[in-house]
Amino acid sequence: MAQTFITHNDSYNVDETFTDPLKVIGHVPNLVDHFANRIVTGNWPFAQDVFAGQKLFTGVQYCPHAHATIKSVDTSAAESMPGVKAVVTYREVPAPAMPRPTTGETSAEIIYQGMCVAAVAATDPFLARAAADAIKVEYDIHPFVVDMDKALEPGAPLAVNGSTSNSSTRVVFNNPSTPPATGPANVDDAMKTADVIIDNVIDNEKWFGTSWASYWSHNTPEPRSATVKWVGGELWVWSGSQNIANHITNISRNMGLNESNVHFISKGCGGAYGDRKPNGEEAWIAALLSKKARMPVNCTFTRHVNATGGATHQGHQKSVIKLGCKRDGEVAAIDAHWYGTSGPIHLQLTYKTDYIRFTSTTVTINVPRTGPFRTVTGMHSCFCSDQIFDQMAYELNMDPYDFRMKVAVTPDRLDQATNRMNGSNALRDCLEEVGKIFDWKNKWAQHKAAGGVGKARLPDGRLWGIGSCYAFNEKGNSDNNRTVIIRVALDGSAHLNIGTGAASSGTHTAVAVVAAEALGTTIDRVNVTVGEAVLAGSGGNQAGSTGTMSNAYGAFEAAKKALGRMMANAATTLKTTTDQLVSENGRIFMKSDPTQFVTHAQAVGSLAIIESGNGAILGMNLKRDYLSWRRGQANTVRSSVADMCEIAVDEETGEIEILRWDMVDDVGRVLFPKGVQAQLNGGMVMKIGVALTGWEQLFDPGTGATLNGNFIDQKNPTPLDVPVDRITAVAYESNNAASVYGGIGCGEPPVLNYVVVHNAFYNATGKRLTNSVLYPARVLAALGKI
């Protein structure tokens, strides 16, 4: 697969602050050695790797019931087992994944299978698990509900004792909020002007505008794990975290420690994708056990506990959408109702209309807790909303490409939820570019000539289909405070410390590249330490595709401050003013005479320079001087992505084969090419997992238990599932974002559009599959074969 980038300079939106020719950005060919070597080899210290041979191991007893109350816990058998050094129960560890007793009470409510009830530290993990199994727990078992639709039925069991309902509904927005001077007064009136309506009621027989997105475990390759050691009254923790500052706060509160006495080191998150954002009870459990046992303790959740109660999950989502369009494709109105165990985003960002109502019903059921996944909940949101638009194109007898171009949000539009300007044409640009790569127009014509929807076949007799999809992605979150510290040493080399966790190997290099560019030095003179909040005060959330944007901004600001001091020293030495100087390749020289220079080492002087910068997400795609953005504010950046896919459907087996899958993703500016390409390709594989291989957690309706809490039955793609040579992922440099050097991150959008396979499936078969995973059995059922 070729590594190509499409560069496009938007005339309306380039931030002039960063238009100088760049020396380092985009020019570093490989990951920087001093961290890449350690990560690639296995030398990078994950939580399980520290204190080899010197630590105790943890076994966890978890509740097998979906809804119960703990009556009693008897740990005596476990305590007398060989090798056992300490035992704790939920009463001592009030962690989020453990039941929370009300103060002074000894009983507590279990609200999903897999909540941890007690834990044991022992000399090896096998003994620890055997001892944990020996803990006797008595429960009062309650009725439960693990199906979202059933939870909404009258008389359904309550998921939480004492609650009055399993759901709550609110209208999130209803635009226009006041009737406009001309045109329909509201969504209902606007819907009446539509020529074609797809509605869950009126189209019940054909396809009913409802989509069901599956529930799945984050399936992190590194299980949740923490190793802790007490040194005097101070606690040292090695654990993966995507929000170190938050983890420190939680641990210190629960242990009764000053935050300054908790040292948290997070070198790697082992493919966390959101799972390491919440509180990290593995560290709390290990800390309490370690305190009792007076030894370092590792707490690693088993794969099953990780897949059930120990970690977070992507929640169910279900959409019921009514969409009305004019004959020419213009959207008359959207009336969307969302149901879910996690919230939707995106719908209002992608499509152009003034009339949109968005109602949301949150539903509580007895399944393990949910948390943000890559794109937060965006993959599911996109799945739940896109099929109805794709279907509308067919209802209007339009090429879906043309329909998408017609209804895509334009740069001048305000976001319907926030009233902020969109400001980018990248959604259309990405669709246009992927259309060229895929050769959509020709393929569409060929497909029609071969019989069109449900009839076109390949020479081998299988059904043949093509699909398209696009989405806007909003990156950012409510917490973008990130402290980055820079130390420019006496030899002029720079070391940056970032307090956030690193999700991927590209983080270090992207930050190093930005710092080198800002300082005017070479990449080999910059080192980056990630995940040691001991030094860097706050790391903020490593989430929302904000790692590059926010950390790079902190690095940029810290480097610019340090360079300012070096420039002042250089100006004194060269008897000039700083505006006459420029910094490049580790030297500060006169613009007028480059032979007059000082090295960075000379410019530092006799004391190392230490400065800090605050990360910020500059936000939106608006042209603005970077200094005018206020740091510490919640903000977001938009980016776009478009996919096209070609599939073959075997009617005998229900198997779907990917013949080709192309994607173009707007990444702003490419800071580090190989890192960007790796993120894009990784997203493609993840989409295959969600759409095709069975990344879906199943619950036993009789017991509420997870049926597939492992890697095989809840399957991520293996190489056999990935048609490596039929995938093309291309970065599109819209270069229109007010972010550091225009880079807006690339982690999230590549995973958004798994629904493109469903759209191709309709094109191939004439059937809509409204569940997210296209298992062969579901395919055969949709085709009426079983």
């Binding site: 060989p82 390759p221 190997s505 790796a678 390709n681 490596v724 040579d725 995938i727």
Partner: protein, 208 residues
């Protein structure tokens, strides 16, 4: 806590685990049955002799070095390699034969070390990912290619892929893409570097 030593049995160790056959992680139910059935032939409720209780020392030949280790009969090879020898490049992702992160070579064959009892590896030549990178400042061979082609992200799975690649290239020095996909099918990379990894292994075979 009591110091009385009872240990746990080999059967318990394997009871909910599935077993690896060839390269591919498939069909947990069927393979799990195989694992349990094989345990029935060795209904060994061990009275173990603990490391501090004067047990036996066994020879582990790892990366060309002899290590004498006092083991428990229920310990996995993964546990011994990581915790007793301190060779932590080999990871533990699932402890049940599903992910491939724990792969080591035993007699040149890629083995899930979480699924092999340490006592079954005594005296056999074992290679771990450490052997691929003796000098962290100067990578070469498979590790250098994986680095230069960005065939890793979080890095948790990478050592497993790389050591399996060593075995693959020994068997087939110049595999094509489909052979790579087939041979490395027992590995997961959730991040996912699968595209880069497969392309990198093909490249290595072509001398690139």
């Amino acid at each position: 806590m009591t110091e009385e030593k009872k240990g746990i049995s080999r059967r318990e160790f394997l009871k909910d685990a599935s077993l690896i056959v060839g390269g591919a992680a498939v069909g947990s139910t069927m393979l799990g049955t195989v694992a349990v059935a094989s345990c029935n032939n060795n209904n060994n409720t061990t009275t173990s002799v603990g490391p501090s209780g004067g047990g036996r020392h066994s020879l582990f030949k790892v990366n060309g070095i002899d290590h004498w280790v006092e083991i428990e009969p229920y310990w996995s090879l993964n546990f011994v390699i990581r915790e007793k020898l301190g060779l932590t490049f080999t990871k533990m992702g699932c402890d049940r034969g599903e992910c491939g992160h724990c792969t080591v070579l035993v007699n040149d064959l890629p083995i899930y070390s979480c699924m092999m009892l340490a006592q079954d590896a005594i005296d056999k030549p074992i290679e771990t990912a450490e052997i691929l990178s003796p000098d962290l400042t100067n990578l070469d061979g498979i590790a250098k290619s994986f680095r230069d082609n960005a065939a890793f992200q979080c890095g948790f799975c990478t050592a497993g892929w790389m050591i399996a690649t060593k075995a693959l290239l020994k068997k087939n020095p110049s595999p094509n893409l489909d052979q790579v996909r087939e041979e490395l099918a027992g590995h997961l990379c959730i991040c996912s570097g699968i595209i880069e990894i497969c392309q990198t292994v093909v490249k290595i075979g072509q001398g690139g």
